[in-house]
Amino acid sequence: MLGVARRILRRTDLAEEALQEALVLVWRKAHQFDESRGNARGWLYTILRNRCLTMLRNEDREVPVAPEDLDTPPDDVMLETAFDRLGHASDLRRCLERLDGESRRAILATYVLGYSHGEIAGRLDAPLGSVKSRVRRGLMKLRECLS
């Protein structure tokens, strides 16, 4: 779980903080967990990811941008690693492979690295509106392929 947090927050200390806060939340929200609606593992990761995204997007927090402060490899390396580690038999991998490269990277970057639409637009140097529709088209294709 710590690895998931560190990919998003880029720093081990922040990731540990997120994990700790997420587990406290999990403990306090345990009574809300409804087994009939999903598995506990998914619920845990959802709480952890939400906690990370809140930390990432909360402007009061200092999130470093200087490369020497980061505990993770460059973003494109992390994305490639994540994609490579998806099992070869995995449906998600097969369907991501069918997308064009930009859409695949955009979707992976949102889930794996916690990118917002704005960050993808910045990286691609593309207008926000077209990034949003590109991601939506990608998601619809993924959905068709996976269903």
Binding site: L2, R6, V24, N39, A82, L108, L139
Partner: protein
């Protein structure tokens, strides 16, 4: 809302692209409509394999201590669930919290937090007779083992183990401190699970539990042969 726009909303919430307002909107929809909730869960599962692609990192020393302190700190009222409609749940929570305050040691604190985690994965009416926190060589907590009087043993993995190819994890215990280890079963899918074994005496305090890597199908000698992923001694929960 059309089906298509609901699909997009769900995907954007799962990916983390949605605004807070959209997340709240979807949560409200899912709370009212089991069909929407099922679709959200399905979407989460589609992307869940990506969670497994993250680096495995050891849990930092002192994490459980810090969680313990955070849980002991008073909550603000907004976060506290309303008493009226959650009487049973609150009672359970209080019992756990009280136990924990008595316990005070890091190991017990860890077990209780983890017992909470485990609580959702299995519906259990009886408290475990013994609980063991398994640690690797460096002292990192890797699994929680809870066993009942009939040796029904639930194993909750807390770190994704790097199981070598063609190997499985096998869970062992030593019912007799001076005797040989006895297999409780395999974790072939490298996931947390519940194991059952007949013919062993009820587990006791300080009983050894360990997980080793063994060839597919389990140890050929019926004794541990592979490297130890983690081990720990059982303790009886404070009641």
């Amino acid at each position: 809302m059309t089906d298509r726009s609901l699909d997009i909303l769900i995907d954007e919430v799962v990916l983390g692209l949605a605004s807070e307002a959209d997340v709240a909107r979807l949560e409200a929809l899912a709370a009212q409509d089991p069909d929407v909730a099922a679709r959200v869960e399905q979407a989460r599962r589609r992307f869940a394999p990506l969670d497994d692609t993250a680096e495995e990192l050891p849990v930092p020393a002192g994490l459980w201590d810090r969680i313990a302190r955070a849980l002991d700190a008073p909550q603000d009222d907004a976060a506290r669930p309303a008493r009226d409609n959650t009487v049973v749940d609150l009672a359970t929570m209080r019992r756990h919290l009280n136990r924990w305050r008595v316990g005070a040691s890091a190991a017990i604190a860890a077990s209780l937090v983890l017992a909470g985690l485990l609580g959702w994965t299995m519906t259990r009416s009886v408290d475990p007779l013994v609980v063991a926190v398994l640690q690797d060589e460096s002292g990192a907590v890797i699994a929680l083992v809870e066993s009942n009087a009939d040796n029904t043993t639930s194993v909750t993995l807390l770190e994704r183990p790097g199981v070598p190819p063609d190997q499985v994890m096998q869970v062992w215990t030593k019912p007799d401190d001076d005797g040989l280890p006895v297999s409780l079963g395999l974790l072939p899918t490298a996931r947390s699970s519940v194991l059952m074994v007949d013919g062993l005496p009820a587990p006791h305090s300080d009983q050894l539990y360990e997980i080793t890597f063994e060839p597919a199908g389990g140890s050929p000698t019926n004794l541990p042969t592979g490297p130890i992923l983690g081990k720990g001694l059982a303790k009886e929960p404070v009641s």
